[in-house]
Protein backbone atom coordinates (compact mmCIF):
# COMPACT_ATOMS: atom_id res chain seq x y z
CA UNK A 1 0.00 0.00 0.00
CA UNK A 2 2.66 2.43 1.05
CA UNK A 3 5.03 1.34 -1.69
CA UNK A 4 2.18 1.66 -4.16
CA UNK A 5 1.44 5.17 -3.02
CA UNK A 6 5.11 6.01 -3.24
CA UNK A 7 5.37 4.71 -6.79
CA UNK A 8 2.27 6.59 -7.77
CA UNK A 9 3.83 9.67 -6.25
CA UNK A 10 6.97 9.21 -8.29
CA UNK A 11 5.01 8.84 -11.49
CA UNK A 12 2.96 11.91 -10.76
CA UNK A 13 6.17 13.79 -10.21
CA UNK A 14 7.21 12.87 -13.74
CA UNK A 15 3.86 13.90 -15.14
CA UNK A 16 3.92 17.15 -13.24
CA UNK A 17 7.33 18.32 -14.36
CA UNK A 18 6.50 17.35 -17.90
CA UNK A 19 3.26 19.31 -17.87
CA UNK A 20 5.04 22.28 -16.32
CA UNK A 21 7.55 22.37 -19.17
CA UNK A 22 4.79 21.90 -21.71
CA UNK A 23 2.78 24.77 -20.25
CA UNK A 24 5.87 26.98 -20.18
CA UNK A 25 6.58 26.20 -23.82
CA UNK A 26 3.00 27.00 -24.83
CA UNK A 27 3.03 30.30 -22.96
CA UNK A 28 6.44 31.18 -24.37
CA UNK A 29 5.17 31.05 -27.94
CA UNK A 30 1.67 32.32 -27.22
CA UNK A 31 2.52 35.98 -28.03
CA UNK A 32 2.99 34.97 -31.66
CA UNK A 33 -0.66 33.90 -31.90
CA UNK A 34 -2.78 36.30 -29.86
CA UNK A 35 -3.51 40.00 -30.09
CA UNK A 36 -1.42 42.47 -28.15
CA UNK A 37 -4.09 43.49 -25.63
CA UNK A 38 -4.58 39.86 -24.63
CA UNK A 39 -0.95 39.72 -23.53
CA UNK A 40 -1.41 42.33 -20.83
CA UNK A 41 -4.35 40.32 -19.60
CA UNK A 42 -2.31 37.14 -19.51
CA UNK A 43 0.46 38.91 -17.61
CA UNK A 44 -2.10 39.61 -14.88
CA UNK A 45 -3.23 35.99 -15.01
CA UNK A 46 0.37 34.84 -14.48
CA UNK A 47 0.54 37.01 -11.38
CA UNK A 48 -2.65 35.41 -10.15
CA UNK A 49 -0.90 32.12 -10.90
CA UNK A 50 1.93 33.18 -8.61
CA UNK A 51 -0.63 33.96 -5.92
CA UNK A 52 -2.23 30.56 -6.49
CA UNK A 53 1.20 28.95 -6.06
CA UNK A 54 1.39 30.51 -2.61
CA UNK A 55 -2.05 29.19 -1.68
CA UNK A 56 -1.23 25.74 -3.09
CA UNK A 57 1.97 25.59 -1.07
CA UNK A 58 0.38 26.40 2.25
CA UNK A 59 -2.91 24.58 1.68
CA UNK A 60 -2.15 21.73 -0.67
CA UNK A 61 1.32 20.88 0.51
CA UNK A 62 1.20 21.88 4.18
CA UNK A 63 -2.49 21.21 4.79
CA UNK A 64 -3.06 24.63 6.36
CA UNK A 65 -6.28 26.06 4.96
CA UNK A 66 -5.99 29.83 5.00
CA UNK A 67 -9.26 31.54 4.17
CA UNK A 68 -7.54 34.91 4.11
CA UNK A 69 -4.52 34.48 1.86
CA UNK A 70 -5.39 37.71 0.04
CA UNK A 71 -4.23 39.58 3.14
CA UNK A 72 -0.65 38.92 2.08
CA UNK A 73 -1.36 39.70 -1.57
CA UNK A 74 -2.93 42.97 -0.50
CA UNK A 75 -0.17 43.88 1.93
CA UNK A 76 2.33 43.29 -0.87
CA UNK A 77 0.26 45.44 -3.21
CA UNK A 78 -0.04 48.30 -0.73
CA UNK A 79 3.60 47.94 0.33
CA UNK A 80 4.78 48.25 -3.26
CA UNK A 81 2.43 51.15 -3.97
CA UNK A 82 3.37 53.19 -0.91
CA UNK A 83 7.09 52.73 -1.54
CA UNK A 84 7.17 53.44 -5.27
CA UNK A 85 4.82 56.40 -4.81
CA UNK A 86 7.26 57.79 -2.25
CA UNK A 87 4.67 57.82 0.51
CA UNK A 88 6.63 56.15 3.27
CA UNK A 89 7.74 58.71 5.84
CA UNK A 90 11.51 59.08 5.82
CA UNK A 91 11.87 57.15 2.57
CA UNK A 92 10.21 59.61 0.20
CA UNK A 93 13.24 59.61 -2.08
CA UNK A 94 13.30 55.84 -2.48
CA UNK A 95 11.10 54.81 -5.38
CA UNK A 96 13.04 51.85 -6.71
CA UNK A 97 11.05 48.99 -8.21
CA UNK A 98 13.63 46.54 -6.92
CA UNK A 99 13.50 47.80 -3.35
CA UNK A 100 9.73 47.94 -3.66
CA UNK A 101 9.50 44.27 -4.58
CA UNK A 102 11.83 43.39 -1.73
CA UNK A 103 9.94 45.61 0.69
CA UNK A 104 6.54 44.19 -0.35
CA UNK A 105 7.64 40.57 -0.10
CA UNK A 106 9.37 41.21 3.23
CA UNK A 107 6.35 43.04 4.62
CA UNK A 108 4.00 40.19 3.70
CA UNK A 109 6.41 37.53 4.89
CA UNK A 110 6.90 39.43 8.15
CA UNK A 111 3.17 39.69 8.71
CA UNK A 112 2.73 36.00 7.89
CA UNK A 113 5.53 35.17 10.30
CA UNK A 114 3.94 37.17 13.12
CA UNK A 115 0.48 35.76 12.48
CA UNK A 116 1.80 32.23 12.17
CA UNK A 117 3.91 32.56 15.27
CA UNK A 118 0.96 33.95 17.19
CA UNK A 119 -1.70 31.54 15.93
CA UNK A 120 0.02 28.21 15.27
CA UNK A 121 1.27 27.84 18.81
CA UNK A 122 -2.34 27.60 20.07
CA UNK A 123 -2.97 23.88 20.39
CA UNK A 124 -6.60 23.94 19.33
CA UNK A 125 -6.39 26.66 16.74
CA UNK A 126 -5.76 24.32 13.86
CA UNK A 127 -7.45 23.11 10.74
CA UNK A 128 -10.84 24.68 10.29
CA UNK A 129 -10.48 27.15 13.17
CA UNK A 130 -7.27 28.56 11.80
CA UNK A 131 -9.03 29.03 8.49
CA UNK A 132 -11.85 30.96 10.12
CA UNK A 133 -9.50 33.13 12.14
CA UNK A 134 -7.70 33.99 8.90
CA UNK A 135 -11.08 34.89 7.42
CA UNK A 136 -11.56 37.30 10.29
CA UNK A 137 -8.07 38.68 9.66
CA UNK A 138 -8.99 39.26 6.01
CA UNK A 139 -12.13 41.05 7.14
CA UNK A 140 -10.08 43.23 9.49
CA UNK A 141 -7.50 43.98 6.79
CA UNK A 142 -10.17 44.99 4.30
CA UNK A 143 -11.85 47.29 6.80
CA UNK A 144 -8.50 48.77 7.71
CA UNK A 145 -7.66 49.47 4.08
CA UNK A 146 -11.08 51.05 3.52
CA UNK A 147 -10.90 53.28 6.59
CA UNK A 148 -7.26 54.25 6.64
CA UNK A 149 -6.81 57.54 4.81
CA UNK A 150 -3.08 56.98 4.38
CA UNK A 151 -3.91 54.06 2.09
CA UNK A 152 -6.40 56.09 0.11
CA UNK A 153 -9.51 54.67 1.74
CA UNK A 154 -12.14 53.14 -0.49
CA UNK A 155 -10.54 54.60 -3.62
CA UNK A 156 -7.18 53.03 -2.96
CA UNK A 157 -3.88 54.29 -4.30
CA UNK A 158 -3.80 55.34 -7.91
CA UNK A 159 -1.05 55.95 -10.47
CA UNK A 160 1.32 53.33 -9.10
CA UNK A 161 4.33 53.42 -11.43
CA UNK A 162 5.09 50.45 -13.68
CA UNK A 163 8.24 48.37 -13.38
CA UNK A 164 11.25 50.67 -13.66
CA UNK A 165 14.63 49.26 -14.57
CA UNK A 166 16.59 52.08 -12.91
CA UNK A 167 18.15 51.55 -9.53
CA UNK A 168 15.97 54.19 -7.93
CA UNK A 169 13.00 54.51 -10.23
CA UNK A 170 14.90 56.71 -12.65
CA UNK A 171 15.47 54.30 -15.54
CA UNK A 172 13.35 52.96 -18.37
CA UNK A 173 9.75 52.15 -17.54
CA UNK A 174 8.32 48.90 -18.79
CA UNK A 175 4.69 49.22 -19.72
CA UNK A 176 4.42 47.63 -23.15
CA UNK A 177 2.45 44.39 -23.18
CA UNK A 178 5.08 42.09 -24.63
CA UNK A 179 7.92 42.71 -22.14
CA UNK A 180 5.42 42.82 -19.27
CA UNK A 181 4.07 39.46 -20.41
CA UNK A 182 7.50 37.86 -20.43
CA UNK A 183 8.49 39.41 -17.12
CA UNK A 184 5.38 38.01 -15.44
CA UNK A 185 5.88 34.62 -17.05
CA UNK A 186 9.57 34.61 -16.10
CA UNK A 187 8.94 35.51 -12.46
CA UNK A 188 6.18 32.92 -12.26
CA UNK A 189 8.41 30.21 -13.75
CA UNK A 190 11.36 31.02 -11.50
CA UNK A 191 9.33 31.24 -8.28
CA UNK A 192 7.38 28.09 -9.17
CA UNK A 193 10.65 26.24 -9.83
CA UNK A 194 12.00 27.43 -6.47
CA UNK A 195 8.82 26.37 -4.67
CA UNK A 196 9.07 23.02 -6.44
CA UNK A 197 12.59 22.64 -5.04
CA UNK A 198 11.35 23.54 -1.57
CA UNK A 199 8.54 21.00 -1.83
CA UNK A 200 10.98 18.29 -2.92
CA UNK A 201 13.57 19.20 -0.28
CA UNK A 202 13.85 17.59 3.13
CA UNK A 203 12.15 20.68 4.57
CA UNK A 204 9.25 20.06 2.20
CA UNK A 205 9.12 16.40 3.14
CA UNK A 206 8.81 17.30 6.81
CA UNK A 207 5.95 19.66 5.93
CA UNK A 208 4.26 16.83 4.08
CA UNK A 209 4.72 14.58 7.10
CA UNK A 210 3.18 17.27 9.32
CA UNK A 211 0.21 17.50 6.96
CA UNK A 212 -0.37 13.77 7.04
CA UNK A 213 0.29 13.01 10.72
CA UNK A 214 1.30 15.97 12.83
CA UNK A 215 1.59 14.18 16.17
CA UNK A 216 3.76 11.42 14.72
CA UNK A 217 6.04 13.98 13.13
CA UNK A 218 6.31 15.71 16.48
CA UNK A 219 7.10 12.39 18.09
CA UNK A 220 9.97 12.02 15.63
CA UNK A 221 11.47 15.15 17.13
CA UNK A 222 10.44 17.83 14.65
CA UNK A 223 9.35 21.20 15.96
CA UNK A 224 6.14 21.23 13.95
CA UNK A 225 5.14 24.74 14.97
CA UNK A 226 8.42 26.14 13.68
CA UNK A 227 8.04 24.28 10.41
CA UNK A 228 4.49 25.51 9.95
CA UNK A 229 5.43 29.10 10.77
CA UNK A 230 8.28 29.00 8.26
CA UNK A 231 6.04 27.54 5.57
CA UNK A 232 3.38 30.17 6.25
CA UNK A 233 6.03 32.89 6.07
CA UNK A 234 7.25 31.61 2.73
CA UNK A 235 3.71 31.44 1.36
CA UNK A 236 3.05 34.95 2.65
CA UNK A 237 6.20 36.26 0.97
CA UNK A 238 5.25 34.73 -2.38
CA UNK A 239 1.74 36.16 -2.12
CA UNK A 240 3.26 39.57 -1.28
CA UNK A 241 5.53 39.40 -4.31
CA UNK A 242 2.51 38.59 -6.47
CA UNK A 243 0.63 41.56 -5.01
CA UNK A 244 3.59 43.86 -5.66
CA UNK A 245 3.92 42.76 -9.28
CA UNK A 246 0.19 43.11 -9.69
CA UNK A 247 0.14 46.81 -8.85
CA UNK A 248 3.06 47.57 -11.17
CA UNK A 249 0.86 46.36 -14.02
CA UNK A 250 -2.55 47.31 -12.79
CA UNK A 251 -1.34 50.71 -11.62
CA UNK A 252 -3.80 50.77 -8.80
CA UNK A 253 -4.08 49.26 -5.30
CA UNK A 254 -7.54 49.02 -3.78
CA UNK A 255 -9.19 47.36 -0.76
CA UNK A 256 -10.53 44.68 -3.11
CA UNK A 257 -7.01 43.24 -3.27
CA UNK A 258 -6.76 42.54 0.42
CA UNK A 259 -10.06 41.11 1.51
CA UNK A 260 -12.52 38.33 1.45
CA UNK A 261 -13.44 38.18 -2.23
CA UNK A 262 -9.93 37.63 -3.56
CA UNK A 263 -9.21 35.14 -0.76
CA UNK A 264 -12.22 33.15 -1.90
CA UNK A 265 -11.19 33.42 -5.53
CA UNK A 266 -7.67 32.10 -5.03
CA UNK A 267 -9.09 29.18 -3.08
CA UNK A 268 -11.38 28.37 -5.99
CA UNK A 269 -8.58 28.60 -8.57
CA UNK A 270 -6.42 26.27 -6.54
CA UNK A 271 -9.21 23.80 -5.76
CA UNK A 272 -10.44 23.69 -9.35
CA UNK A 273 -6.93 23.48 -10.78
CA UNK A 274 -5.63 21.02 -8.21
CA UNK A 275 -4.39 21.68 -4.72
CA UNK A 276 -1.90 18.84 -4.66
CA UNK A 277 0.11 19.94 -7.64
CA UNK A 278 1.89 23.24 -8.10
CA UNK A 279 1.47 23.26 -11.89
CA UNK A 280 -2.20 22.36 -11.64
CA UNK A 281 -2.86 25.13 -9.12
CA UNK A 282 -1.07 27.74 -11.24
CA UNK A 283 -2.77 26.61 -14.43
CA UNK A 284 -6.03 26.60 -12.51
CA UNK A 285 -5.65 30.31 -11.80
CA UNK A 286 -4.60 31.14 -15.36
CA UNK A 287 -7.30 29.05 -17.01
CA UNK A 288 -10.15 30.12 -14.72
CA UNK A 289 -9.28 33.76 -15.31
CA UNK A 290 -8.80 33.23 -19.05
CA UNK A 291 -12.16 31.46 -19.25
CA UNK A 292 -13.77 34.18 -17.20
CA UNK A 293 -12.45 36.87 -19.49
CA UNK A 294 -13.50 34.89 -22.56
CA UNK A 295 -16.93 33.81 -21.37
CA UNK A 296 -18.09 36.71 -19.25
CA UNK A 297 -19.37 38.43 -22.38
CA UNK A 298 -21.70 35.51 -23.12
CA UNK A 299 -22.42 34.26 -19.62
CA UNK A 300 -22.51 37.54 -17.73
CA UNK A 301 -23.69 37.06 -14.19
CA UNK A 302 -24.18 33.34 -14.79
CA UNK A 303 -20.42 32.88 -14.83
CA UNK A 304 -20.05 33.10 -11.04
CA UNK A 305 -22.98 30.74 -10.57
CA UNK A 306 -21.28 28.30 -12.91
CA UNK A 307 -17.92 28.73 -11.17
CA UNK A 308 -19.50 28.12 -7.77
CA UNK A 309 -21.14 24.94 -9.07
CA UNK A 310 -17.84 23.71 -10.53
CA UNK A 311 -16.13 24.48 -7.24
CA UNK A 312 -18.69 22.48 -5.24
CA UNK A 313 -18.48 19.60 -7.71
CA UNK A 314 -14.68 19.55 -7.52
CA UNK A 315 -14.76 19.50 -3.72
CA UNK A 316 -17.24 16.63 -3.74
CA UNK A 317 -15.89 14.52 -6.56
CA UNK A 318 -12.42 15.55 -7.69
CA UNK A 319 -10.08 16.22 -4.75
CA UNK A 320 -7.17 16.42 -7.19
CA UNK A 321 -8.84 19.19 -9.13
CA UNK A 322 -9.65 19.24 -12.84
CA UNK A 323 -6.13 19.89 -14.12
CA UNK A 324 -4.53 17.87 -11.34
CA UNK A 325 -6.69 14.90 -12.31
CA UNK A 326 -5.73 15.29 -15.96
CA UNK A 327 -2.04 15.44 -15.07
CA UNK A 328 -2.49 12.45 -12.80
CA UNK A 329 -4.15 10.42 -15.54
CA UNK A 330 -1.54 11.46 -18.07
CA UNK A 331 1.21 10.50 -15.63
CA UNK A 332 -0.40 7.14 -15.05
CA UNK A 333 -0.74 6.58 -18.77
CA UNK A 334 2.91 7.50 -19.09
CA UNK A 335 3.83 5.03 -16.36
CA UNK A 336 1.85 2.24 -17.99
CA UNK A 337 3.42 3.04 -21.32
CA UNK A 338 6.94 2.90 -19.94
CA UNK A 339 6.34 -0.31 -17.98
CA UNK A 340 4.77 -1.89 -21.10
CA UNK A 341 7.89 -0.89 -22.98
CA UNK A 342 10.04 -2.66 -20.37
CA UNK A 343 8.26 -6.00 -20.81
CA UNK A 344 8.67 -5.77 -24.57
CA UNK A 345 12.38 -5.73 -24.14
Amino acid sequence: MRAGAFLAGLRRLGGEDLSALLALAVFAVLPAFVEEWRLAEFAIFFIYGLFAASQMFIWGHCGVLSLGQAVFFGVGAYGMSTLTLGMIPGLEGVTSTWLGLLFAAALSAGLAFLLGWFLFSAPRLQGAFFGIVMLAVAFIAERLAINWDFLGGLNGLMNVPPINLGLNGDGAEIWESLPVYYIALGVLAVVAALLRRVIASSFGTVLLAIRERDYRTRALGYDIIRYRVLAFTLAGGVAGLAGALFVTQFGFASPALIGFALSAEVLIWVAVGGRQSLVAAILGAVLVRALESGLSAQLGDYWLLFLGAVFVAVVLLLPRGVIGEAIHLAGRGLGRLSSGHDTDQ
Binding site: L65, L125, N147, F260, A264, L267, A271
Partner: protein, 287 residues
Protein backbone atom coordinates in the same frame (compact mmCIF):
# COMPACT_ATOMS: atom_id res chain seq x y z
CA UNK B 1 -29.34 57.74 32.22
CA UNK B 2 -31.45 57.77 29.05
CA UNK B 3 -28.31 57.37 27.01
CA UNK B 4 -27.32 54.40 29.12
CA UNK B 5 -30.69 52.71 28.66
CA UNK B 6 -30.53 53.16 24.90
CA UNK B 7 -27.00 51.86 24.83
CA UNK B 8 -28.04 48.84 26.85
CA UNK B 9 -31.02 48.11 24.59
CA UNK B 10 -29.00 48.50 21.38
CA UNK B 11 -26.36 46.15 22.70
CA UNK B 12 -29.00 43.61 23.76
CA UNK B 13 -30.56 43.88 20.32
CA UNK B 14 -27.32 43.11 18.52
CA UNK B 15 -26.36 40.36 20.94
CA UNK B 16 -29.69 38.58 20.55
CA UNK B 17 -29.52 38.61 16.76
CA UNK B 18 -25.94 37.41 16.94
CA UNK B 19 -26.96 34.58 19.26
CA UNK B 20 -29.68 33.58 16.84
CA UNK B 21 -27.23 33.39 13.94
CA UNK B 22 -24.44 31.81 15.98
CA UNK B 23 -26.72 29.21 17.54
CA UNK B 24 -27.61 27.74 14.14
CA UNK B 25 -23.94 27.57 13.20
CA UNK B 26 -22.96 26.05 16.53
CA UNK B 27 -25.63 23.36 16.47
CA UNK B 28 -24.73 22.32 12.95
CA UNK B 29 -21.04 22.24 13.81
CA UNK B 30 -21.45 20.56 17.17
CA UNK B 31 -23.73 17.84 15.92
CA UNK B 32 -22.53 17.25 12.39
CA UNK B 33 -18.98 18.58 12.37
CA UNK B 34 -19.99 20.77 9.44
CA UNK B 35 -18.75 24.33 9.20
CA UNK B 36 -21.41 26.06 7.22
CA UNK B 37 -20.02 29.05 5.34
CA UNK B 38 -23.40 29.50 3.65
CA UNK B 39 -25.07 30.35 6.94
CA UNK B 40 -24.88 34.07 6.23
CA UNK B 41 -26.54 33.45 2.87
CA UNK B 42 -29.33 31.53 4.58
CA UNK B 43 -29.87 34.70 6.56
CA UNK B 44 -29.85 36.71 3.37
CA UNK B 45 -32.45 34.36 1.85
CA UNK B 46 -34.68 34.85 4.89
CA UNK B 47 -34.46 38.62 4.55
CA UNK B 48 -35.18 38.52 0.79
CA UNK B 49 -38.11 36.16 1.38
CA UNK B 50 -39.70 38.74 3.67
CA UNK B 51 -39.02 41.49 1.18
CA UNK B 52 -40.60 39.52 -1.67
CA UNK B 53 -43.67 38.64 0.39
CA UNK B 54 -44.01 42.27 1.33
CA UNK B 55 -43.74 43.45 -2.28
CA UNK B 56 -46.26 40.94 -3.56
CA UNK B 57 -49.09 42.06 -1.37
CA UNK B 58 -48.39 39.87 1.61
CA UNK B 59 -47.47 41.53 4.85
CA UNK B 60 -44.25 41.56 6.85
CA UNK B 61 -45.93 39.18 9.29
CA UNK B 62 -46.75 36.63 6.63
CA UNK B 63 -43.16 36.91 5.39
CA UNK B 64 -41.84 36.39 8.87
CA UNK B 65 -43.79 33.15 9.02
CA UNK B 66 -42.89 31.95 5.52
CA UNK B 67 -39.22 32.91 5.46
CA UNK B 68 -37.91 30.35 7.98
CA UNK B 69 -39.91 27.63 6.26
CA UNK B 70 -38.60 28.55 2.81
CA UNK B 71 -35.00 28.74 4.04
CA UNK B 72 -35.51 25.46 5.89
CA UNK B 73 -36.49 23.81 2.61
CA UNK B 74 -33.41 25.25 0.92
CA UNK B 75 -31.24 23.99 3.78
CA UNK B 76 -32.84 20.55 3.58
CA UNK B 77 -32.16 20.32 -0.15
CA UNK B 78 -28.55 21.47 0.24
CA UNK B 79 -27.98 18.92 2.97
CA UNK B 80 -29.35 16.17 0.75
CA UNK B 81 -27.46 17.25 -2.36
CA UNK B 82 -24.08 18.27 -0.98
CA UNK B 83 -23.44 18.30 2.74
CA UNK B 84 -24.20 14.66 3.49
CA UNK B 85 -21.51 13.57 1.06
CA UNK B 86 -18.76 15.25 3.02
CA UNK B 87 -19.46 14.47 6.66
CA UNK B 88 -16.27 13.97 8.62
CA UNK B 89 -14.29 16.06 6.15
CA UNK B 90 -14.41 19.36 8.04
CA UNK B 91 -12.19 21.32 5.68
CA UNK B 92 -14.22 20.12 2.71
CA UNK B 93 -17.43 21.26 4.37
CA UNK B 94 -15.93 24.75 4.53
CA UNK B 95 -15.08 24.67 0.85
CA UNK B 96 -18.32 23.14 -0.37
CA UNK B 97 -20.52 25.41 1.70
CA UNK B 98 -18.42 28.36 0.56
CA UNK B 99 -19.16 27.35 -3.01
CA UNK B 100 -22.84 27.13 -2.14
CA UNK B 101 -22.70 30.54 -0.53
CA UNK B 102 -21.22 31.93 -3.75
CA UNK B 103 -24.00 30.33 -5.78
CA UNK B 104 -26.75 31.61 -3.48
CA UNK B 105 -25.30 35.12 -3.59
CA UNK B 106 -25.03 35.03 -7.36
CA UNK B 107 -28.52 33.59 -7.63
CA UNK B 108 -29.83 36.59 -5.72
CA UNK B 109 -27.83 38.93 -7.97
CA UNK B 110 -29.38 37.28 -11.02
CA UNK B 111 -32.93 37.56 -9.71
CA UNK B 112 -32.88 40.83 -7.80
CA UNK B 113 -29.80 42.57 -9.15
CA UNK B 114 -26.73 43.61 -7.18
CA UNK B 115 -28.34 46.69 -5.69
CA UNK B 116 -29.76 46.97 -2.20
CA UNK B 117 -33.37 46.95 -1.05
CA UNK B 118 -34.96 48.38 2.03
CA UNK B 119 -38.33 47.88 3.68
CA UNK B 120 -40.66 49.96 5.76
CA UNK B 121 -40.76 49.18 9.45
CA UNK B 122 -44.00 47.32 10.14
CA UNK B 123 -44.47 48.75 13.64
CA UNK B 124 -43.95 52.44 13.99
CA UNK B 125 -43.73 54.37 17.22
CA UNK B 126 -41.68 54.42 20.35
CA UNK B 127 -42.25 53.39 23.93
CA UNK B 128 -40.51 54.68 26.99
CA UNK B 129 -38.06 52.16 28.38
CA UNK B 130 -36.31 53.25 31.58
CA UNK B 131 -37.27 56.79 30.70
CA UNK B 132 -35.81 56.63 27.18
CA UNK B 133 -37.90 56.48 24.00
CA UNK B 134 -37.16 53.28 22.13
CA UNK B 135 -38.64 51.91 18.87
CA UNK B 136 -41.28 49.26 19.51
CA UNK B 137 -40.11 47.28 16.50
CA UNK B 138 -36.66 46.81 17.98
CA UNK B 139 -38.24 45.46 21.13
CA UNK B 140 -40.26 43.10 18.96
CA UNK B 141 -37.06 41.83 17.30
CA UNK B 142 -35.56 41.22 20.70
CA UNK B 143 -38.67 39.34 21.75
CA UNK B 144 -38.62 37.10 18.66
CA UNK B 145 -34.90 36.36 19.04
CA UNK B 146 -35.29 35.61 22.70
CA UNK B 147 -38.23 33.32 22.01
CA UNK B 148 -36.35 31.45 19.26
CA UNK B 149 -33.28 31.04 21.45
CA UNK B 150 -35.39 29.89 24.38
CA UNK B 151 -37.26 27.44 22.15
CA UNK B 152 -33.97 26.04 20.86
CA UNK B 153 -32.68 25.53 24.38
CA UNK B 154 -35.95 23.98 25.45
CA UNK B 155 -35.76 21.63 22.51
CA UNK B 156 -32.21 20.62 23.27
CA UNK B 157 -32.55 20.23 27.00
CA UNK B 158 -36.15 19.13 27.56
CA UNK B 159 -37.23 16.94 24.65
CA UNK B 160 -36.39 13.46 23.44
CA UNK B 161 -35.08 14.95 20.22
CA UNK B 162 -32.73 17.14 22.23
CA UNK B 163 -31.55 14.21 24.29
CA UNK B 164 -30.75 12.25 21.15
CA UNK B 165 -29.03 15.30 19.63
CA UNK B 166 -26.90 15.84 22.70
CA UNK B 167 -26.01 12.16 22.68
CA UNK B 168 -24.81 12.48 19.09
CA UNK B 169 -22.80 15.59 19.98
CA UNK B 170 -21.14 13.72 22.86
CA UNK B 171 -20.40 10.52 20.98
CA UNK B 172 -21.77 9.93 17.53
CA UNK B 173 -20.77 6.30 17.16
CA UNK B 174 -22.11 5.33 20.57
CA UNK B 175 -25.37 7.17 19.94
CA UNK B 176 -25.73 5.30 16.67
CA UNK B 177 -25.15 2.01 18.49
CA UNK B 178 -27.93 2.88 20.92
CA UNK B 179 -30.36 3.04 18.05
CA UNK B 180 -30.45 6.77 17.43
CA UNK B 181 -31.00 7.46 13.76
CA UNK B 182 -28.08 9.84 13.25
CA UNK B 183 -28.80 10.36 9.57
CA UNK B 184 -32.31 11.64 10.32
CA UNK B 185 -30.93 13.79 13.11
CA UNK B 186 -28.32 15.33 10.81
CA UNK B 187 -30.98 16.19 8.27
CA UNK B 188 -33.21 17.76 10.91
CA UNK B 189 -30.35 19.66 12.49
CA UNK B 190 -29.14 21.21 9.28
CA UNK B 191 -32.67 22.17 8.33
CA UNK B 192 -33.26 23.67 11.76
CA UNK B 193 -29.99 25.59 11.61
CA UNK B 194 -31.02 27.01 8.24
CA UNK B 195 -34.42 27.96 9.66
CA UNK B 196 -32.82 29.83 12.53
CA UNK B 197 -30.68 31.78 10.08
CA UNK B 198 -33.72 32.44 7.92
CA UNK B 199 -35.64 33.71 10.92
CA UNK B 200 -32.77 35.98 11.93
CA UNK B 201 -32.64 37.47 8.45
CA UNK B 202 -36.41 37.77 8.23
CA UNK B 203 -37.01 39.41 11.58
CA UNK B 204 -34.47 42.15 11.07
CA UNK B 205 -35.01 42.71 7.35
CA UNK B 206 -36.76 46.09 7.85
CA UNK B 207 -33.83 47.43 9.86
CA UNK B 208 -31.01 46.67 7.46
CA UNK B 209 -30.38 47.19 3.79
CA UNK B 210 -30.74 43.94 1.88
CA UNK B 211 -28.03 43.22 -0.63
CA UNK B 212 -26.39 40.03 -1.89
CA UNK B 213 -23.27 40.65 0.20
CA UNK B 214 -25.03 41.10 3.53
CA UNK B 215 -24.40 37.58 4.81
CA UNK B 216 -20.69 37.95 5.45
CA UNK B 217 -21.16 40.84 7.83
CA UNK B 218 -23.05 38.49 10.13
CA UNK B 219 -21.22 35.27 9.40
CA UNK B 220 -17.84 36.50 10.60
CA UNK B 221 -19.01 37.89 13.99
CA UNK B 222 -21.15 34.77 14.48
CA UNK B 223 -18.17 32.52 13.88
CA UNK B 224 -16.02 34.61 16.18
CA UNK B 225 -18.74 34.42 18.84
CA UNK B 226 -18.66 30.66 18.68
CA UNK B 227 -14.90 30.47 18.78
CA UNK B 228 -14.66 32.93 21.63
CA UNK B 229 -17.46 31.29 23.57
CA UNK B 230 -16.11 27.82 23.06
CA UNK B 231 -17.30 24.88 21.04
CA UNK B 232 -18.78 21.69 22.28
CA UNK B 233 -21.29 23.51 24.43
CA UNK B 234 -24.57 25.01 23.33
CA UNK B 235 -24.05 27.73 25.91
CA UNK B 236 -20.79 28.82 24.27
CA UNK B 237 -22.38 30.98 21.58
CA UNK B 238 -24.32 32.89 24.24
CA UNK B 239 -21.18 33.91 26.09
CA UNK B 240 -19.37 34.62 22.82
CA UNK B 241 -22.14 36.69 21.28
CA UNK B 242 -22.42 38.68 24.49
CA UNK B 243 -18.68 39.40 24.43
CA UNK B 244 -18.63 40.38 20.76
CA UNK B 245 -21.91 42.30 20.81
CA UNK B 246 -21.36 44.32 23.96
CA UNK B 247 -17.80 45.34 23.07
CA UNK B 248 -18.88 46.26 19.56
CA UNK B 249 -21.65 48.53 20.85
CA UNK B 250 -19.47 50.01 23.55
CA UNK B 251 -16.75 51.05 21.11
CA UNK B 252 -19.28 52.20 18.56
CA UNK B 253 -20.92 54.47 21.14
CA UNK B 254 -17.78 55.74 22.79
CA UNK B 255 -15.54 56.06 19.77
CA UNK B 256 -16.81 55.35 16.27
CA UNK B 257 -18.95 52.65 14.68
CA UNK B 258 -16.55 52.36 11.75
CA UNK B 259 -13.64 51.26 13.89
CA UNK B 260 -15.74 49.27 16.36
CA UNK B 261 -16.05 46.14 14.30
CA UNK B 262 -12.41 46.29 13.38
CA UNK B 263 -11.22 46.60 16.94
CA UNK B 264 -13.65 43.95 18.18
CA UNK B 265 -12.52 41.43 15.58
CA UNK B 266 -8.88 42.08 16.38
CA UNK B 267 -9.51 41.71 20.11
CA UNK B 268 -11.53 38.58 19.53
CA UNK B 269 -8.78 36.98 17.44
CA UNK B 270 -6.41 37.63 20.30
CA UNK B 271 -8.92 36.25 22.81
CA UNK B 272 -9.38 33.11 20.73
CA UNK B 273 -5.64 32.67 20.68
CA UNK B 274 -5.27 33.16 24.43
CA UNK B 275 -8.29 31.09 25.45
CA UNK B 276 -8.51 28.50 22.70
CA UNK B 277 -11.11 26.39 24.46
CA UNK B 278 -13.41 29.35 24.86
CA UNK B 279 -14.46 31.68 27.61
CA UNK B 280 -17.48 29.61 28.63
CA UNK B 281 -15.51 26.38 28.88
CA UNK B 282 -12.91 28.10 30.98
CA UNK B 283 -15.35 29.42 33.49
CA UNK B 284 -16.98 26.03 33.80
CA UNK B 285 -13.72 24.34 34.56
CA UNK B 286 -12.98 26.75 37.35
CA UNK B 287 -16.32 26.17 39.04
Amino acid sequence: MDQLAIYFLDAANYVLILVLVALGLAIVFGLMGVINMAHGEFMMLGAYAVMVTDRHGGSYWLGLLLAPLAVGVVGFLIEEAVIRRIYARVLDTILASWGISLMLKQGIVLIFGPGSYSMATPIAGNVLVFGAPYPVFRLFIMGVSLAAVAFTFWMFFATRFGLAARAVIANRAMAGCLGINTRRLDRLTFTYGAMLAGLAGAVMAPLISLDPQMGLGFLVPAFLSILVGGLGSILGPLAGAATVGVTDNLIATLYSPVWAQLVVFAVVVVLIRLFPSGLAARRRREL
